[in-house]
């Protein structure tokens, strides 16, 4: 695989861009693999990449039922942050953020990671108390956090509603400057290219339709492109985890829900950060093409459809207008839905399963994108060593049975409320 560099670009500029090589192979599947990762989204590709790079495992396949990065990796609002409070999440997401910071050079592919800062707004005294506590906890964990008052926020973000009679006045906010956004498609493509160059077979249009088991092990993965013998199997299929688990009679503490996201018509630079509303569920940033990228709640009912419903759009836009009134005359040009694997405590499940050679990477709720490199990194470790890394051992499946929830919001076992 040719390394991308300035010389490459110059050379191609003079020969009409004719010498660019194919970015990844389209291999014929082999009969047998040491590790089969199901799902060629960001998490699956990152897992395969780190398995090959950090753990020296070469005979890996990543199976994808559709096209690479066509699931949630291409259907999110691209926010990256690590502003978590609970230990199990905080250290894991911080590791992920550190991997993001070097991802473009590690992959030799520009994922356009932009540390523009993520600000959570607070609108009353109790919210100020809550973000102060979270910010202090983050700083004790060695993660950057900055408490801003209304004046400081107004200077950074004059477009927010600071009028006197506003229903939800802005009292302050918690800023993580190292947070930001990345180009989601580039993440999938860069990981695919890097994994492929290490010998990983990425097999697209290959839907898993069943498993053969012997003892407490999966021996064969049955797909629409034939059957593969496997050493170990990893699920990294986000919203389809429930469906895949049902093929081996595994019940999980997960429900699938649809989450919608939106892009407006392109504007000149207006929103320089990622901003989230505190009085409703709304988060917004501006892409490099100028479109405002925003989203809110899930549609609240179980769904495997990559499409949402209209009442929720109205709700999201209402929250957006309460935060930034000047959005009112903007047109939405695109919107889409992705299927979230909502876990019972709002935190991911990444680790071993009740089946000996099956590993689970699921339960990402709203926040799978920011976890992409960290998830792959710890998942690769877990698969290679047959035990979790310190960073993900608290995010195991057994925690539900033992009642040790990792529930940032304290919302209880209701998947649509996280």
């Amino acid at each position: 695989m040719a390394k991308y560099s300035i010389f490459n670009i110059i050379r191609n500029a003079f020969n009409g861009d004719k010498s660019w090589a194919r970015v990844w192979r389209d291999p014929e599947p082999k009969k047998s693999y040491d590790v089969i990762i199901i799902g060629a989204g960001g998490h699956g590709l990152a897992s395969a990449f780190y398995l090959a790079k950090n753990h020296g495992i070469k005979n890996i396949a990543v199976l994808e039922k559709g096209y690479l990065g066509g699931g949630n990796t291409g259907r999110n609002t691209t926010i990256v942050r690590s502003n978590y409070m609970l230990d199990e999440n905080a250290h894991f997401y911080e590791k992920s953020l550190q991997l993001w910071e070097q991802l473009s050079s590690e992959l030799n592919y520009n994922v356009m990671f932009s540390q523009r800062g993520v600000l959570n707004l607070a609108h009353n005294d109790s919210q100020i108390d809550a973000i102060t506590r979270r910010g202090n906890t983050m700083r004790l964990n060695g993660i950057d956090a900055e408490l801003l008052d209304a004046k400081q926020i107004r200077k950074l973000m004059p477009y927010l509603d600071f009028s006197d009679d506003v229903r939800f006045p802005i009292k302050g906010g918690l800023l993580q400057r190292r947070g930001g956004t990345a180009r989601h498609d580039a993440v999938a493509w860069g990981l695919a290219r890097a994994a492929d160059s290490l010998g990983v077979d990425i097999i697209q249009n290959c839907e898993v339709i069943g498993f053969e088991e012997s003892g407490n092990k999966i021996t064969t993965v049955k797909t629409s492109r034939g059957n593969f013998n496997c050493g170990k199997v990893g699920f990294a299929v986000a919203g389809n985890t429930g469906h895949l688990a049902s093929l081996i009679n595994l019940k999980l503490p997960i429900e699938s829900h649809v989450l919608q996201a939106f892009v407006s018509e392109p504007l000149k630079p207006m929103i320089d950060h990622v901003v989230t509303f505190g009085a409703g569920h709304f988060y917004i940033s501006q892409s490099d093409k100028g479109g405002l990228v925003f989203g809110g709640d899930i549609d609240m009912y179980n769904s495997y459809a990559q499409k949402g419903n209209l009442p929720l759009i109205e709700e999201v836009v209402t929250a957006g207008l309460a935060m930034i009134p000047s959005l009112s005359r903007l047109r939405i040009t695109r919107h889409w839905g992705g299927v979230m694997d909502m876990s019972m405590d709002g935190s991911p499940i990444i680790g071993k399963s009740p089946i000996d050679n099956l590993y689970l990477n699921c339960g990402w709720c709203y926040g799978g994108f920011k976890a992409t490199p960290g998830s792959g990194w710890v998942f690769a470790h877990t698969i290679a060593n047959d035990e979790p890394h310190n960073l993900n051992k608290g995010l195991n499946l057994e925690r539900f049975k033992k009642g040790r929830m990792v529930d940032e919001r304290g919302a209880g076992p209701f998947p649509n409320r996280h």
């Binding site: 389809n240 429900e255 769904s303 459809a305 419903n309 539900f400 649509n416």
Partner: protein
């Protein structure tokens, strides 16, 4: 908008309802604290089917009753509705309610 046929109020927009969740979970007897597995199953585990899903909605902005709904989680099509304790029997072809 989904149209949910409330057995008491008739067809209404789903915005009038609050989604409760899976209708197939049965609460273990409260004095049965020895059976952790049953509680684990009831509180946390879900079938999460891709296809027909039996679920409860509460008609919050109507009669406030709980309504059982059979809905397809892939197409969002509602197949049948009834009271929570009703068995909604689906025929092989058209998923008509025939209780």
């Amino acid at each position: 908008m989904l149209i949910i046929n409330c057995p008491l109020c008739g067809p209404r927009d789903h915005a009038e309802f609050t989604y409760i969740g899976d209708a197939t979970k049965n609460r273990p007897k409260s004095d049965d604290i020895s059976n952790d597995d049953a509680w684990y199953d009831y509180v946390y585990l879900r079938d999460n089917p891709k296809g027909l899903h039996e679920e409860l909605w509460q008609h919050s902005f109507g009669c406030r009753c709980f309504v059982k709904v059979v809905r397809n989680t892939v197409t969002h099509q509602i197949i049948a509705t009834g009271m929570p304790k009703e068995d909604l029997i689906l025929d092989e072809k058209g998923f008509e309610r025939s209780v």
